[in-house]
């Protein structure tokens, strides 16, 4: 699985398949800088220093423009690492949290 490294904190976490950068950090107990977590506000926008990411859901051009993408910015709440990546978090360092990920689908009620 891809490894996410966050500068300058030098935190390293694993990105489980299909998980975004923000989700992967949350699962590993880190609160990065974000607000909506749904690709709408741009709060989490960060430089992608190394590696590649993919976007599995449509992005608003107004939130992450083509120019920003080619300048190396990514949207961590929507970006899924393709290989090992390094992102910068600037002045906003990571904060340790205990976060609950989305619930797995509930098993069907057992039949009598």
């Amino acid at each position: 699985m891809p490894i996410i490294t966050v500068h300058p904190a030098a935190v390293r976490v694993v990105a489980p398949p299909g998980r975004t950068i923000v989700e992967s950090l949350r699962l590993a107990g880190w609160r990065s800088r974000y607000a909506c977590r749904r690709g709408g506000c741009g709060t989490c926008k960060a430089p992608l220093l190394r590696g590649r990411v993919t976007y599995e859901q449509p992005l608003a051009e107004s939130v992450l423009t083509a120019a920003e993408r080619s300048a190396g910015l990514c949207l961590p709440c929507r970006a899924v690492p393709v290989d090992d990546i390094v992102i910068a978090q600037g002045e906003h360092s990571l904060r340790p949290i205990l976060a609950s990920s989305p619930c797995p689908p509930r098993p069907p009620f057992p039949e009598e």
């Binding site: 749904r38 709408g40 506000c41 859901q57 608003a60 939130v63």
Partner: protein, 304 residues
């Protein structure tokens, strides 16, 4: 005054199917009309055709509509908008699904606001004859009964407050001021009926949406709404808590495209003789979140 209330909010969404699931299954609104790239929804206790329109492509506000008392008031409002120096154009029945003739106004803050009197009547889910207090067989998710208000951002809140007051007949209920001068306006919460607010705006970029809100019954409805948000993994901005401004109870949360929603309960009653309340910036955090007295700086800057 001739403006009655917020009628509809028309927003952009990045993924129509996910947005539809959020507004229909989590908030519990009913889909009343569909086009190739748009979904129209109403809440169970609303009479009029729709109160939310979702349009695929991007995020943020396309426009919003306020209902007025009659077609004659549209001509009066058109004159007052022109006298203020703002622009408007007439819109025709059919420009919006279910909405009749009206006036499309470009606010000084560059938002598009539509005024209309005629709208297709669909009726509430409980009817008007000996109704139940809520629909016995028709609440999904939170089950929001109706839309309540919108909060937008404007580069010049003082100018926008004057516009809503002089052109549209709104009055300020609460004002957030930056310095010693009452004109150094950071935000204003304005009403056209007897709500604490029907429109609000804070200083920020023109043309942007901070949030729109659905009204729900009370504090226990808020807590139950929070349960549904957890079940559906909806990102919470903050809450449940109480606002100092409007005194309402609140949860702020995000739709699947990152547009901010609110469920709002309570709030006091205003009216034509209501004298505005002033908040100063040193108490702004208490004004927004009375319980916690602390908000992220991003609460004011995160818009779509």
């Amino acid at each position: 005054m001739s403006v009655i209330r917020l009628g509809y909010v028309h927003i952009r969404v990045t993924d129509l199917a996910r947005a539809r699931a959020h507004y229909a299954d989590t908030l519990g609104m009913d889909v009343v009309a569909e086009e190739a790239n748009r979904v129209y929804l109403k809440s169970w206790d609303e009479d009029d055709h729709h109160s939310v329109v979702l349009e695929e492509g991007g995020v943020g506000l396309v426009k919003f509509g306020y209902k007025v008392t009659g077609a004659d008031s549209l001509a009066d409002l058109e004159n007052r908008v022109a006298a203020f120096g703002a622009t408007s154009v007439r819109m025709s029945k059919g420009d919006n699904v279910g909405i009749g003739d009206g006036l499309r106004v470009t606010l000084p803050s560059e938002h598009t606001l539509e005024l209309y009197a005629d709208v297709e009547y669909l009726g509430t889910k409980v009817g008007k004859l000996n109704p139940d207090p809520w629909p016995r067989d028709g609440i999904r998710g939170i089950g929001v009964p109706r839309i309540n208000h919108a909060l937008i951002t404007a580069e010049d809140p003082a100018q926008l407050e004057r516009f809503f007051e002089l052109a549209l007949g709104f009055r300020p209920a609460e004002r957030l001021v930056g310095g010693d001068e009452p004109d150094d306006l950071v935000g204003s919460w304005m009403f056209c009926g007897e709500n604490p607010h029907d429109i609000a705006f804070v200083k920020g970029p023109n043309g942007k949406l901070h949030h729109f809100a659905h009204q729900i019954d009370d504090w226990s409805a808020l807590l139950r709404a929070g349960d549904v948000m957890s079940m559906d993994d909806v990102p919470i901005d903050f809450g449940p808590t109480r606002h100092g401004i409007t005194r309402g109870g609140t949860i702020y949360f995000f739709d699947p495209s990152g547009n901010r929603n609110e469920v709002f309960s309570g709030g006091y009653r205003t009216g034509p003789d209501f004298r505005p309340i002033t908040w100063t910036m040193d108490q702004a955090a208490r004004g927004v979140n009375y319980t916690h007295r602390e908000i992220d700086q991003e609460f004011l800057s995160v818009v779509t």
